[in-house]
Symmetry: C2
Subunit: 338 residues, 2 copies
């Protein structure tokens, strides 16, 4: 059945029936606004807008993965503050010819990401649109002081969680139209990293609780671009050791001559980048172990006048032409180390 | 200058610079998530998605009015719960060819609605889109028990605030292509009612504080359709006295043979509909006076099996064919009293 046949209110009613009333939710889907219980800590608010053919192509993703990812990218923003996600408000624009079953599958993906992280979907808005449009607002709380982008200082170490570049490499495989063997284990890994990124909530929270990170950001636009945001906000520069940038074995297997291209500049990793004083190294090793997430030291904060430089094994500057996403430019931004 | 030239981060930086740091906001625009202080009351969450050519046409509205209205429709949802609005998160999809000046004017409209109601814009997301897309999530708090849709009972009075139908009549004038004389005072009034609706925050809050309303909703889809939502949620029917439905003198002047058509079925009034026990009438008269908003008794709650009926002066049923908006149907819903 197409959504036009079920209608706006039929769809809302369907959502309402299959949405569990979450903890702390006194009024859920179906009133003018949702109502949740008071939050005794500072409140975190973030939102992300995903539009068909701008942020995703329906031919490249399953509705389930799309729903999952739409939630995950917001969870990643909460993780980057060292917060705990609580509630989700969903504004959905649907083409009238869209199938109700597809909406349902997308919704199941959202619920899956919510269930894994204890988040309740509490309400939103449903409307027609020419292109599938998903706007999610996530509400979280900060049990301890949130970690901002602007607290890094010269001399701080720079760390990243997980591995970088998998998602951008997967996107490249999807775009290349050479049929990637999705049954290959390594390709499957890369595609999962692109379609269903893991928000680093435990890592972000443990770093915030320990007071270990001086600045933190999630890597959504590419390592060097997001590092650039931290540098700009903190008034510093950065030196990155290319050899230390963590990449997966699947990445190594499929990059070929592209080398570190995707790891340095590719977007949608949804890993965390954070800075910390050098005397925190032992503590960070322990936090990585306890949160089950790899944390790799990849460089250090230097004077702002150095800008961002990438060094190879011999200590020579790598002439990087790194690309991060600027939505309006509709081109990738070049950042050269000259 | 077009937004493509300024770029995503240039635009965010521009927004950041001109956005005042609101009360209670510890981290505003420019980090992964915004951070606001703890809220000691229940929290209200609502969102609305506005898409070009679905919800508005740029040729019919000014960017300022569009920004104002995008905020106002969310404020109206908070008003309908009897709440107080606090924070706004904005997800904006912009065509790259859109002019920065237009974005700025739209933003000024948003700021105007925020400033009037003490709301702080704290963050969001900016992205490219084929069509201008505005998704706002509003966070409020409920100083007293929020008023739901499902508390009305047989015998309750039915009230509405303000006047109905002005907005839908204005939309009809805009659609008719017969050049409406916008210099006419009455046309100007109707167009303002359509483009810059007044959310009934003081009225909603005073009704909630007094515990006077058993159910409340904002009229966004048309009187009879929104009344239908209250009836369905509360398990009741309703009898509406057509003669009592409040309309403006401008409405009377310009409806001609359409009579009560727009007042009964037209959308986007953003007035409040609420139910109350008959022993509250004197109190409601006082609340109307103190909040400076007209509150008119237009009918009563009856048994569910009666459905929704509209009566004329002689007590005869009016054969209404009332239209409210269903986004997917892309047609107006017929509801006949038979």
């Amino acid at each position: 059945m197409k959504v036009a046949r079920l209608g706006e209110f039929g769809l809302i009613e369907k959502f309402r029936k299959i949405t569990p009333r979450g903890h702390g939710v006194s009024i859920g889907i179906g009133d003018d606004a949702a109502c949740v219980e008071a939050i005794s800590h500072s409140i975190l608010l973030t939102s992300d807008l995903l539009i068909e053919n701008v942020h995703f192509k329906l031919s490249w993703t399953s509705p389930f993965a799309l729903g999952y990812k739409a939630v995950a990218v917001n969870l990643s923003d909460i993780a980057a503050m060292g917060g705990v996600p609580l509630y989700l408000v969903l504004a959905l624009g649907l083409p009238p010819t869209f199938h109700v079953n597809e909406v349902h599958r997308m919704y199941r993906g959202m619920r899956s990401a919510c269930a894994e992280t204890g988040v309740s979907l509490v309400g939103g808005d449903t409307s027609s649109a020419d292109r599938l449009t998903i706007s999610i607002c996530m509400v979280g709380h900060a049990p301890v002081q949130p970690v901002r982008r602007d607290g890094a200082a010269v001399g701080d170490d720079i760390f990243v969680t997980g591995t970088l570049g998998d998602s951008a490499l997967a996107l490249n495989l999807l775009q290349s139209r050479t049929p990637a063997d999705s049954k290959s284990r390594s390709i499957g890994f890369l595609l999962r990293r692109h379609h269903q990124p893991t928000p680093r909530l435990a890592a972000g929270l443990s770093l915030a609780r320990a007071g270990a990170a001086t600045a933190m950001i999630d890597i959504s636009d590419g390592l060097l671009q997001d590092l650039g945001h931290v540098c700009k906000a903190s008034g510093i520069g950065a030196e990155i050791w290319q050899k230390h940038i963590p990449v997966s074995s699947a990445y190594r297997q499929h990059t070929g001559s592209s080398g570190m291209h995707y790891a340095l500049g590719g977007g949608e990793d949804y890993e965390l980048l954070f800075c910390a004083k050098p005397d925190r190294r032992a503590q960070i090793t322990k936090l990585a172990k306890s949160s089950g997430v790899r944390m790799t030291r990849i460089g250090k904060c230097v004077s702002a006048k150095s800008g961002i430089i990438v060094l190879d094994e011999s200590g020579s500057r790598v002439p990087v032409s790194v690309k991060g996403y600027d939505h309006f430019a509709r081109r990738r931004i070049s950042r050269s180390s000259k």
